[in-house]
């Protein structure tokens, strides 16, 4: 499967082996792993990117998102604080010190200040909206997070990452149907986007469509195979495998669970699932 995220990740891995001091190469590797639903690998690469260049804005934002997904909320807020300090140093110096406030409200306040600096329509920085969205998402305030992602999408209609973030936020606030629509937008823009397909599977699980969920998850897993199509997968994403296992359990299909325990080869499921 040409151009799969797994193959692109291999290319970036080769690049950082050659030039391990290249922050952008680490950042691209990290972003690819996150899109490929391999969060731990993404975090390792993004940490390297930030280590090589503390002002790598894209890496800081991506790392904040990955930490949020793994529930490392404090680390996520720290990355966002570093991001806003690097990009909007004036906002930080002009805002009165807030040492007595917890980091979440402190960083949120800085992002709100930065958003006010640029009135809507004029040079609005969608990344500020994304950061705010991540902050609201982290505190469970999904309605506000949705507003932020929608606002960022107004200026970046073709940003498949944003469509996925909007979808996941909708899904986690219980709006599975709307979420599925957003994921489909993301997948239309980028068919090889494994994370959006994984999320689609999760939303199907949420609404009790277990067999459909399994198909999406198998589809996502199949994108992890590299080269020949014998169905073998290396460096399997544990979240994908675990979630597929849960889907089989929900289907009350112990036989499928056993198959999956024995082998990660997706071809063994093709006679029953269409993916």
């Amino acid at each position: 499967m040409g151009g799969s995220l797994s193959e692109i990740a291999l290319a970036f891995e080769a690049a950082v082996r050659k030039d391990s001091g290249n922050s952008d190469a680490w950042m691209l590797l990290g972003n690819t792993q996150a899109q490929n639903e391999k969060e731990e690998a993404a975090i390792r690469a993004l940490q390297k990117a930030v280590e090589m260049n503390g002002n790598n804005l894209t890496a800081l934002m991506s790392l904040a998102v990955s930490y949020t997904n793994e529930s490392y909320d404090q680390q996520a807020y720290l990355m966002l604080e570093r991001w806003i300090t690097a990009k909007y140093p004036d906002v930080v110096t002009r805002t009165a010190p807030m040492n007595n406030r917890d980091i979440h409200s402190r960083v949120t306040e800085l992002f709100i200040q930065a958003a006010r600096e640029a009135p809507e329509g004029q040079n609005m920085d969608p990344d500020v909206q994304v950061g705010l969205g991540v902050l609201f998402y982290g505190s469970g305030n999904f309605d506000k997070a949705v507003d932020c992602f929608v606002s960022a999408l107004n200026t970046r209609k073709d940003d498949y990452l944003l469509w996925n973030r909007l979808g996941a936020t909708l899904a986690n606030s219980g709006k599975s149907e709307d979420a599925i629509e957003a994921y489909h937008k993301a997948l239309d823009l980028k068919p090889t986007f494994v994370r959006a397909r994984y999320n689609l599977g999760v939303s199907c699980l949420n609404i009790g469509c277990y067999s459909e969920a399994a198909e999406h998850l198998l589809g996502a897993l199949s994108m992890h195979q590299i080269g020949s199509d014998n169905g073998e997968i290396k460096n399997v994403s544990s979240s994908l495998r675990d979630t597929l296992m849960r889907a089989f359990k929900m289907m009350e299909r112990e036989d499928l669970c056993e198959k999956l325990r024995t082998s990660i080869n997706v071809n063994q499921f093709r006679d029953e699932f269409d993916f």
């Binding site: 505190s139 305030n141 999904f142 936020t169 606030s173 609404i207 849960r246």
Partner: protein, 359 residues
């Protein structure tokens, strides 16, 4: 992953079964909050007044209820067969009698499910009965089974709290992740639920004490006004449910929208008469009459459209977090016999809702 904290409102058969199944899952820590617990007797607490026996009223197209009742039957059957049986469940012969074979009679769905299901021969029918079926089934000593559930739940590490709440959200604390409403009849008035489809169907029964094992059968008799579906408003229904300790429960009545807690003593003696005339062998040879041990009144938690089992996320501004609200109530006259299957479904719904999407 830290454990998810679940609060269950209600300690009837639905609440306690749901609590026990969830406490068994390693991801959850369950607290049952209720006004009444096993051992309490109150008109506000329906479960201890139940018969109870397994006799499905699910229509042939109600696949959800059929699934629940199948699963519950298997569970009860296994409990009854367990070497150490302290659950108050026993296996008996079940009989259904119709005074008149309804014109629209069709075989119940459990024809191919219940062990040893068959039509009764003419010679096996009580006087005044035109048609009947028999099958193996189980009876449940409701107070004993409720105690068994509570004991199982506590031994798994579950906790309980006595409280009288007027709003569903009153049970939510900082660490609460999931709330499950198993408040039965109270879902009609409980704030945050206020389900206008909920109503009571009052039932009156009598408990008599007989020698242990004297009665090893249960019956239901459908007389004037009952359709083919069995128990119904306006119909005369008669039933006998033996318990493992020699108590035998005689019933019954089915009066919708009647919330009065007092037993009608005339009705009580009419019930005894109906039971004796259906099965004279209820009376032991050395007894001339049945001695009433207890008159019972219970309010079946009925719901237009059937039981409600679903889940929704809510965001609570004051706690700055989202909470999963699950409902499991409205089981009418089939609470015990659907309890286990319904609770399994709740576990499934909660597990499905726990998957997080990734931004």
């Amino acid at each position: 992953m830290p454990k998810k904290h679940i609060v269950i409102l209600g300690a009837g058969v639905i609440g306690l079964t749901t609590a026990t199944l969830l406490q068994q899952e390693k991801e959850f820590e369950v607290t049952v909050i209720a006004r009444h617990f096993p051992g309490d007797l109150s008109i506000d607490y329906t479960s201890p007044w139940a018969g109870a026996h397994w006799r499905s009223y699910a229509t042939n197209d109600d696949s959800r209820l059929i699934e629940y009742e199948k699963k519950t039957f298997h569970h009860f059957w296994n409990l009854a067969k367990a070497s150490k049986n302290n659950s108050g469940i026993m296996i008996v012969d079940g009989f259904d009698y119709w005074d008149r074979l309804p014109d629209d009679f069709s075989e119940p769905w459990f024809k191919d499910f219940s062990p040893e299901y068959r039509h009764l021969d003419k010679g096996e029918l009580p006087i005044g009965v035109e048609f009947g079926i028999t099958y193996k089934t189980v009876t449940i000593n409701a107070p004993v089974y409720l105690n068994y559930l509570l004991h199982t739940f506590l031994s798994l590490g579950g906790t309980t709290q006595r409280a009288n709440l007027s709003h569903l959200y009153d049970c939510i604390k900082n660490d609460t992740d999931i709330v499950i409403n198993c408040s039965g009849i109270h879902s009609k008035t409980l704030g945050g639920v206020e389900d206008t489809n909920v109503y009571a169907a009052k039932g009156q029964t009598i408990v008599v004490q007989l020698p242990r094992s004297h009665v090893n059968w249960t019956f239901e008799r459908y007389s004037a006004g009952c359709g083919s579906g069995g128990i119904a408003a306006g119909g005369v229904i008669t039933y006998v449910v033996p318990r493992d300790n020699g108590e035998v429960l005689l019933g019954g009545t089915y009066v919708e929208h009647d919330y009065s807690p007092e037993p009608d003593l005339e009705e009580a003696s009419a019930i005894v008469q109906r039971c004796l005339s259906t099965r004279p062998d209820l009376l032991p040879h050395d007894q001339t009459n049945l001695v009433i041990k207890k008159n019972c009144v219970g309010l079946r938690p009925c719901r237009k459209g059937g039981m409600r089992i679903d889940a929704e996320w809510i965001y609570l501004e004051n706690f700055e977090k989202k909470i999963l609200i699950v409902h499991n109530y409205g089981h009418g006259c089939y609470g015990f016999q659907s309890s286990y299957g319904a609770a399994l479904d709740v576990v499934k719904i909660i597990n499905s809702s726990m998957f997080n999407s990734k931004i």
